[in-house]
């Protein structure tokens, strides 16, 4: 299973803070997971997830570009951070 989290404006646009995706090889990378989310969610999800400057994190680490996923991973989608 993959745990998928959304934060801030991404969460609001999707009206979704978290969901779980059963693990299989069709979601064994960040890009393929994102495609699955868009396929299941529709145009609204495409708009929200393909935004410029989207940040993706795997197991609490920000990731640049695509990245392999394995069963049990936690994936997060969020906009550029603005703390401090």
């Amino acid at each position: 299973m993959l745990k998928v989290l959304f934060f801030a404006s991404v969460k609001e646009e999707l009206d979704c803070s978290a969901l779980e995706i059963p693990w299989d090889e069709s979601v064994d990378s960040l890009d393929s997971l994102q495609e699955r989310l868009i396929r299941d969610g529709g145009p609204n999800w495409r708009l929200a997830l393909e935004r410029k400057n989207m940040i993706r994190a795997v197991n609490h680490d920000m990731v640049t570009g695509n990245s392999p996923l394995k069963d049990g991973d936690e994936v997060a989608f969020f906009p550029p951070v603005t703390g401090g």
Binding site: A8, N53, H60, T82, G83
Partner: protein
């Protein structure tokens, strides 16, 4: 290292208290540089009424500790501490405190600024402002990314 500490909390903090906790029992440090961030009354020309700070529990603490560890590898700091608030905040409220102690001031200044520059770019917090024109998510400043980059190289 156990002289690095991180707290993510809804409660306010007392800077003097945090600074006393930072100090070593052996009085090695000659310098402490402390940064405090506040909610400003105005941002990008609009009046701010209040702020909501969202974060990514777990990743927040981990990323800040990673930043402090990098600072400790890079400079001979004695101790470093970050307290970051989350949840609803009002104008003038304290948001974040970063304290760094070291033998000499150069190290404390550099390490404290490094931690803030990285925190601004790597710690998963998001600010939502409430203004007269409605709520809006604060956008990241391009200069923040630049400032973090100048430490590499």
């Amino acid at each position: 290292m156990n002289n690095l500490s991180v707290s993510v909390q809804t409660e306010d903090f007392d800077a003097a208290c945090l600074q006393r906790e930072l100090l070593s029992a052996s009085h090695e440090e000659g310098a402490v540089v402390a940064f405090t961030g506040y909610v400003r009354s105005e941002n990008i020309g609009q009046c701010v009424n209040n702020l909501l700070l969202e974060h990514y529990p777990g990743m927040t603490e981990r990323s800040i500790l990673a930043i402090l560890s990098q600072a400790a590898e890079r400079w001979p700091i004695v101790a470093a501490s970050v307290v970051h608030r989350v949840g609803p905040l009002g104008v003038g409220d304290q948001i974040v405190w970063v304290g760094v102690s070291s033998e000499h001031r150069e190290v404390a200044f550099s390490a404290c600024e490094f931690v803030m520059d990285y925190l601004k770019n790597e710690a998963p917090f998001w600010k939502k402002e409430s203004t007269a024109k409605g709520d809006r998510w604060v956008e990241a400043r391009a200069t923040d990314a630049e400032r973090a980059r100048r430490w590499s190289g």
